[in-house]
Amino acid sequence: MSTSTPALGADRRVSHGLARALRSPSLRLIGRRLAAAIPVLWGVTLLTFLVLNIMPGSAAQQLLGADATPEQVRQLEAELNLDQPAWVRYWEWLQGVVTGDLGNSIASGQPVTTIIGQRLPVSVELVLCAIIVSLAFTVPLALMAARRPNGIVDRLSMVLSMTGLSIANYVFALVLVVVFAVIFPVLPAIGFVPLSDGLLGNLRSLILPAIAIGFPLFCFYTRFLRGDLVEQMRGEDYVVTAKAKGVGPWRVLIRHAFRNSLFGLLTIVGLNLGTLIGATVIIEQIFALPGIGQELLQAINNRDAVVVQAIVLLLAVVVVVANLITDLLYAVLDPRIRYGQRSA
């Protein structure tokens, strides 16, 4: 077919497809959401900048140490271009960001993009592991709890969740280290093995931090999913229809209620990503994982405004994009949205 069609036809087909894509509701949704995100992102960088300026100490001071004379500090500040007014530096940085240049670290002189490139994969892997671990336990436990509300599994899961939600994640992390690295030394307490050094070692180094982040998530997701499932089993007419067919209770729960709960769960996971990223900053520090969170803390210590602002901006972008992807996934998965509502 394509051999007999001249290039012109193919061209027209492409442009036709493009025009249709531009008119598609999901693309317009993306466009609108991204446009709305710009002021938010800008506000985030401005706030970071203001906070960094209120903090005592300067990058030059941190680099030279406490013994440095004011003369030496002033000289280094001039070298690093830090003697200009703060808002001028912010303005220059912002201009760079708009053109895609995140600048160089004040402390090390390395391009910020290089630093992020090294650090980001570790954090992404950690976050993914945490989500996978939490969901892997949430789904079966919530299903069992919802099968018999107020039954033994439901009560136990309730106690477990309440414990998990009331314990700080760094405390829980330390408990994990004591149990699995000190009392039963089966897993490494700290440090990171990159994926290039073997999958097993890599996963072993991520298990404890992933659990430390994933456990409170698991508790939260389990409460949500269990509640949603029970509500559907009690209140939804299509559950009655399924029962009236003679379908067994597990099948009603999984094929009917759970299927409809998935959308809500997905939303919760997506919206929760901000909290999750916040947790990685502390957990990376505890387990000495060379991720983006560890870099952020280090940069704050160094008063390395360029790196701090870039990372804060990056995390804000991730949260915005994650929320957008959640909405889009929802649209892809939910047939009601996928086909557009058509009422009787």
Binding site: T241, A244, V247, S343
Partner: protein, 351 residues
């Protein structure tokens, strides 16, 4: 029990309709005896169904009529074991000779869909929005029949054709929201018919549809009933609906039967003042179809206490002291005609 001899005389009174199987020679398909359902609600009880009895023969149509809240849905769901755990059900319901009440959920599942099937009021909420309609039908088929995927799909398409859904092969793959309300109800009927039930319970199956669609679905149900030889329980708040198709009518009030007769006999000689009020409230053409029924002044009774007298007494224009003091028994007062009333309406020269 006086009601036991009923089928005989009831059949005799269905005058001019000789096509029915003679009930005297067969056992009823469904025999409900003294059915009580109450719900726990906080520290109170809701007395939803209070001593309901009736029987239904294979291939027959029974209409259960009553205002909203009179216990129609609860009494029929009790038969299928579809009530929430807060419900306490007592009495007896024999289906094909087998007692249904007290069966375990697993035993009950063998009957649900296979022997008794149900069509609900709101087809939009009764279909799973995230499943293709075809799969919702094949699920019902494969729960009871030993068919593989392909055979089940062919049967599902056959069922969609049976309920007169246009282009069934395409519709099989669509989601509920892609169908109109009437089409969804057709799908619900297809699901109910998936395993050839002997009894179909249609609980306000047309109430949420517009008038034209209502008539089409009604007609479809009656055609299918004739074609497949099922018994049909048609639940409605609209007595006028019953007039056109049912063999027998039960009128419910406050969880009990207050009048029961063959359709013919009921419309010829209404006895119970409540039925009369319902009859007067049959929607006329000039009135919009689902405007609230101006049945009779007053509200349905509070079901959290059992009344001493007749539950309809506060709203009844014929009520006297007796009605407040003692509840009238529901008895066969004329051959084939049951009612519960101390001072029944008199149509002048019948009986």
């Amino acid at each position: 029990m006086s009601t036991y001899g009923a089928p005989h005389s009831a059949a005799a009174s269905v005058s001019g309709d000789g096509s029915r199987p003679s009930p005297s020679t067969t056992m009823p398909l469904l025999e409900v005896r003294d059915l009580w359902v109450r719900f726990r609600q906080g520290d109170r009880q809701v007395w939803a169904v209070n001593g309901l009895s009736y029987e239904l023969f294979g291939g027959q149509t029974l209409a259960i009529i009553g205002e909203s809240g009179s216990g129609k849905t609860v009494s029929s769901r009790a038969l299928m074991g579809l009530l929430p755990e807060t419900a306490t059900v007592t009495g007896s319901a024999r289906f094909d000779g087998e007692e249904l009440l007290g069966l375990s959920d697993q035993e009950m599942r063998q009957h649900r869909g296979a022997d008794l099937a149900m069509v609900f009021q709101d087809p939009t909420r009764s279909l799973n929005p995230t499943m293709r309609v075809g799969n919702q039908i094949t699920e019902a088929i494969r729960t009871h029949l030993p068919l593989d995927r392909r055979a089940a799909r062919e049967r599902a398409i056959e069922l969609l054709r049976l309920v007169r859904l246009p282009s069934p092969r395409q519709r099989f793959f669509e989601y509920p929201h892609q169908l109109s309300g009437g089409m969804r109800q057709r799908v619900m009927i297809a699901i109910a018919l998936a395993a050839d039930p002997k009894l179909l319970i249609a609980d306000e199956a047309t109430s949420s549809l517009d008038v034209t669609t209502q008539a089409q679905i009604m007609e479809l149900l009656l055609d299918l009933q004739g074609q497949l030889g099922m018994a049909l329980i048609m639940i409605s708040h609209d007595l006028g609906l019953a007039a056109s198709f049912a063999d027998e009518v039960i009128v419910m009030y406050a969880g009990r039967a207050v009048e029961r007769a063959s359709t013919h006999q009921l419309f010829a000689h209404v006895r119970m003042p409540y039925t009369e009020a319902l009859l007067e409230a049959i929607p006329r053409i000039e009135r919009p179809s689902h405007s609230p029924l101006p049945v009779t002044p007053g509200r349905p009774p509070d079901l959290t206490t059992l009344p001493v007298g007749c539950p309809f007494e506060p709203r009844c224009s014929r009520a006297r002291d007796t009605c407040r003091e003692t509840s009238p028994p529901f008895e066969e007062q004329e051959p084939g005609h049951w009612w519960a009333c101390w001072y029944p309406c008199d149509d002048g020269g019948s009986g």
